[in-house]
């Protein structure tokens, strides 16, 4: 369904822009508690870089880089990270997602533990959002069929 773009401008631009977009998404993710941004925005930009690659290089090339199975594993790991930190705080005697309790198992102060906890949560959210976005895009652009059976 998605054919390869034979346009050299867009392919060259994507080759430059996609790594920049991913690095910038990591910056937005890691800097999320000091500046605008955070897990959701970083995840959206990571997903947008994969969508840009599908637009420029076609679906098959992108599926070689990030298969649907790897994508599923990514967002499951993101969800596990989020709920795992939450349940860990619950197990340490606090409320769900009460990051201050993480100071009991990490060698840091309570304030630092809160900062680290929100970073873990945001990483989980970013992985989840990116995985779901890319998965939805793959499914929409193949019509739900596996790419081999589509007969392009």
């Amino acid at each position: 369904m998605i054919i390869t773009y034979e346009d050299i401008i867009i392919r060259t631009l994507t080759r430059v822009l996609a790594p920049f977009l991913q690095i910038y998404a990591l910056y937005v993710l890691a800097h999320g508690h000091y500046s605008p941004g955070g897990g959701f925005q970083g995840g959206v930009m990571l997903g947008a870089s994969m969508i840009l690659m599908v637009i420029a290089f076609g679906l098959d090339t992108t599926l070689k880089r990030l298969s649907e199975k790897a994508d599923t594993i990514l967002f499951v790991v993101g969800l596990l990270l989020y709920s795992g930190v939450g349940v860990l705080c619950l197990a340490l005697g606090g409320n769900y997602l009460d990051y201050g309790k993480l100071a009991e198992i990490l060698p840091v102060t309570i304030a630092k533990a809160r900062s680290l906890g929100i970073l873990f949560i945001e990483t989980g959210v970013a992985l989840g959002v990116m995985g779901i976005m890319v998965s939805l895009f793959y499914d929409i652009s193949t019509g739900g069929l596996p790419p081999a059976r589509e007969g392009r």
Partner: protein, 79 residues
Amino acid sequence: MALSLLVLLCLYRAVFGPFITNRIVGVSAIGTKTLIILLLMGFIYDRVDMFVDISIAYALLNFITTLAAAKYFEIKGEV
């Protein structure tokens, strides 16, 4: 102020544009002007470092949106 007027002109082209290409270019131009207005807002509030982050993200997503729309209409064969 002047930028807002220019946004309205581009909005006219995006809404009443005779062809689909006019609309795509109009929306893209509106996105670019929004970016500049964002940066000016950053100067007004004296926090440019925050607003530059938002503008870069906005510019990249605007570019991807335009590209995706152009490709979609190319596949549909309406251009």
